[in-house]
Every structure is written in C-alpha cells, then in structure tokens.
C-alpha cells in the first residue's frame, strides 16, 4: 500500500498526515446522504477522538473494516451512532473508505497520564498474557508490534484507551459479539475491570512503532 502512496491535494486542503497518503474519497470528507462523512468523527487522518469514544481507523485492514460496516448494517454489531450511518453507506462508500483508512499510518500516540505501574501491568498482559488463566497475550494475535494481522486482526497499538475499554467490556458483557469464533469474548471475560483498563492504557501509549519485545 505504502509504495503507491503519494502526497496529494484535496481541494485547497493540504493533507499532511504522519506519512503520505492517497486523497480521501468523498465518503470520508463529504459523506453520502445520511452517511455522515467519516472524517467528521474519525478524522481525515483516521485518528478518531479519545474523549468522544471514536476509534482510530488508520491502518485498519480493509477486510476487517468492511466486516464491521457489514455487521453494523446487519445488526450483529450495534452502535447508536454507527448503525444508521452504516445502513446508509453504499458498497462503493464502504470500499472507498476501507481502502483509504487502510492506507494511513497509525497516528503517534498521545502522551499518557496513566500510572507507570498500570502501564507495566498492561504491558505484561499485552506481551505475556495470563496463560495460567488461558488468556493469550494481545500480541499473539494482533502481531508482535500490535499493528494487526490482515485480514481478521485489527491494529490495537495506538487505539484510544476509552474505546479499547468499551469494546473489551462489550465482549465481556455480550454487548458486542461479532468477534470470529468468540475469540475476544474468551479473552475479555477472563479479565478484571482493572486489567482491561491497564491493557487499554498501555495500548494507547504505543503507536506506529509498536512494541517489540
């Protein structure tokens, strides 16, 4: 993907993301009817918004992205904001936004205010897991750098902590259940709330460079 990337201009806006990227499609910048522009919440750089709970989309595998939109459409993943937007997205909208966000590099992580012992606990779980409870490390499936494995495993490094917490809690409670083979449920239900918070804080603290043991 990156080999094809080039600096482009969209209207009068000069796109300067962390690296270089293709021009964003209309669905990202302008939307398509009831399908609100992706960038209005997730940013044209795919960085999302931590406080509002909008996830980082940059560098997400197209197949994973597409599946999430399809699941929102089908109701197998539910979200009051995304469900109606997904319902209004055309096949072209989905394909174009998926391709665009996949082409972007992960944003640099925000500086964290989390306690160092919390971050260390989170790192232990992400890198080493808790196999005595049959909890594999995050990085066993999401790659050693946390940047994901196409097609099914999204990047988690650099994701906003509140979003990661909300999703892990969703799997734990059953509010989210569109994970293949119940893999995320099996992990989340074995984690305490403190562990979920710790691993989310840790993942938010690493970014494009990821973490390689």
């Amino acid at each position: 993907m990156r080999s094809k990337a080039r600096v482009t201009f969209a209207g009068t806006m000069c796109l300067v993301v962390s690296f270089v990227a293709a021009a964003p499609p209309a669905i990202v910048t302008a939307g398509d009817g009831a399908a609100v522009a992706c960038a209005s919440c997730h940013g044209v750089d795919g960085a999302g918004n931590a406080q509002a709970g909008f996830p980082v989309l940059a560098h997400m595998p197209p197949a994973y992205f597409t599946k999430q939109i399809a699941d929102f459409k089908a109701g197998s993943r539910a979200n009051p904001i995304m469900s109606p937007i997904a319902a209004a997205m055309s096949a072209q909208d989905i394909e174009a936004s998926a391709r665009y966000y996949a082409s972007l590099s992960r944003p640099d992580p925000k500086s964290t205010t989390a306690d160092t012992t919390v971050l260390a606990r989170g790192r232990d779980l992400a890198v080493g897991g808790a196999w005595d409870r049959d909890v594999p490390p995050c990085f066993k499936c999401h790659a050693a750098d946390g940047l994901g494995v196409e097609p099914a495993f999204p990047p988690i490094a650099g994701q906003h902590a509140p979003y990661t917490v909300s999703q892990l809690q969703g799997w734990k409670t059953g509010a989210r259940s569109n994970d293949p083979q119940g893999l995320m449920k099996s992990v989340a239900e074995k984690l305490t709330d403190e562990e979920i918070q710790a691993v989310a804080e840790y993942l938010a603290s690493i970014g494009q460079g990821g973490e390689i043991e």
Binding site: A143, A144, L147
Partner: protein, 313 residues
Amino acid sequence: MKGAAGSWLCVLALGGVISACNDFPPPETAEGTPAETSPVVAAPAGFTFTPPADSDIPANEIGAAILLGKNIFVNTQQYAKDFVGNALNCANCHLDGGRKADSAPLWAAYGLYPAFRQKSGQVDTIQTRIQGCFLYSMDGTAPAVDSAAMTALVAYNHWLATGAPTGVILPGQGYPELAQPGFVPDMARGKEIYANNCALCHGANGEGIKARGEYAFPPLWGEDSFNWGAGMHRINTAAGFIQANMPYGLGGTLSEQEAWDVALFINSHERPQDPRFQGNLAQTRDAYHDEYCLYGRTPRELRAIVTEQGGGT
C-alpha cells in the same frame, strides 16, 4: 499387525520425553510416561509446579545466558536463524515461552533427562534432546552441544525448572494423551473443523499468515513447517496439543474427537522430508514411523490399521 505395529504408538515429544512404546491402545497416562525405560515416578496427587517469573531472571552472567535462551526460544527466527530451516519458533508448540502446562513445558522436561529414547536409540541428555528439536521440529541443523545457543537454551530450561524435582513426571508435562476416539479420525470432518476453527489464523491452506514480512501465525504444513520427523507429525501428539491449547484462549473447547479429526487433516499434508530418509520411503517408514502417522501411508491405509487396532469405528 501385532508385533511391530503393536508398539507403534511411541511418544516422543520434548517434555513428552522418552519412548513409551506401549502396546496399542496406550495406557491412559500422561504422554511421555517413560514406562520401563527410565527410573521416573509420578508426582504426588495435587502437586503443582510454578516456574519462576521472568522478572526473577538475575542480572548477572547466568541471567544473561537465561535471557538469551528465552529470546532464542521465543524468537528462534531472529536469535538462532542459522539453525532453523523453516518458519517456526520453539514457542509455537511450547506456549508461553515453554511455561504452559499441557504444552510440553520446559520445566517438566528438564528433570526427566538424561533418559534413553527409542527415537534416538541412545541415552539423550537435555542437549541432545534439544538437538532433536532443531533437526525435526525446526527442520534445521542442530547447534553443537557446547555452542552458545545450546548453552543459553539449557540455561533457560534449567532456570524454568528451578525447584522442580528430577525424575518426576510433573502434572502438565508433555502434551495430554487423549483416549482413542470413538470414531476413526476422518479427513472430511477434519477439513471442516479446520476451516471453522483454525484457518482464521493459520490460513485456508495451512500456510500461516504474515504481517509486515514476519510470520504472525505459523504454517502448519508445507515447506516452512515442521518436517516428517517431528513429534507433531504424529496424529495422537498433534491431537493432544490441539485439544488442550487451540485456538488461543479456547483450549479445551474442541472435543477430543474433533481434535483427532483435525489433527489427521493437518498431518495429511506435505511437509519437509524426514531427515532420516535415504531414498526409500517404505524403508524410512518401516524403520522410523511405526507410529500413528501418515508417513508413507495413505489415509485409507492408516484407517485400516487404526480400525484393526481398536482406534475407533
């Protein structure tokens, strides 16, 4: 098939140690029960062993060797590349860096050596046992017994076994020995189980999945996987590993029958040749593969043998 075939279930995984070449069907003991070949005893009921934490690795010379051993074990591709011929890391089959019970943990293997093994026909030390891993599971070249890589691996093994008794089969040692399945393992069932439970990570064709040029999930067959001499090519061994450990986080969720079926399917594919092969498949099979495997056998031939020996209907 009595005689030679009667002793074909030789269990030989690392940690599965030692050749328990029992009459078929095998007794329901932990895999690797060294039977009459080694003076070992079972741990007392309720005994559990916990290896030390990584944070306990001392900051001195031996600590440096332990850490290198851990790095080699977890990331063999990077730290011991010269000795590896495929895409695997030791920790692909010994989960949690060789700590996980029922995943051939190193702390349970260490104290069972030296031991006589049918596979090698000699008394193996932990070093020569590890050499076997490189030759077969890693499809590579064995590091010398006195090499830096071997010293580091032994240091890591020994350290993980800190406080463990010698000559005792610890709970969680080796891979679980599953009971014979009710139904003879079946390729068609195995293929479907593979597609539904394994392909997400290992690929539709067992090829593994790479991320940014590195294998994120290991290939299960083909030229980058373990060779035909590796313990994991035996269907009983693979079934035990799979049932206890796969998929990640979901160990124990496949039924034993499903594990047998999918192990058969996985181990029905091509992989690198057994390094003991000298040009004649049937000879190699007869000399080294008197075991539950498809080396030099068609699935139909294996099925006939298994059925005759009471390994399901």
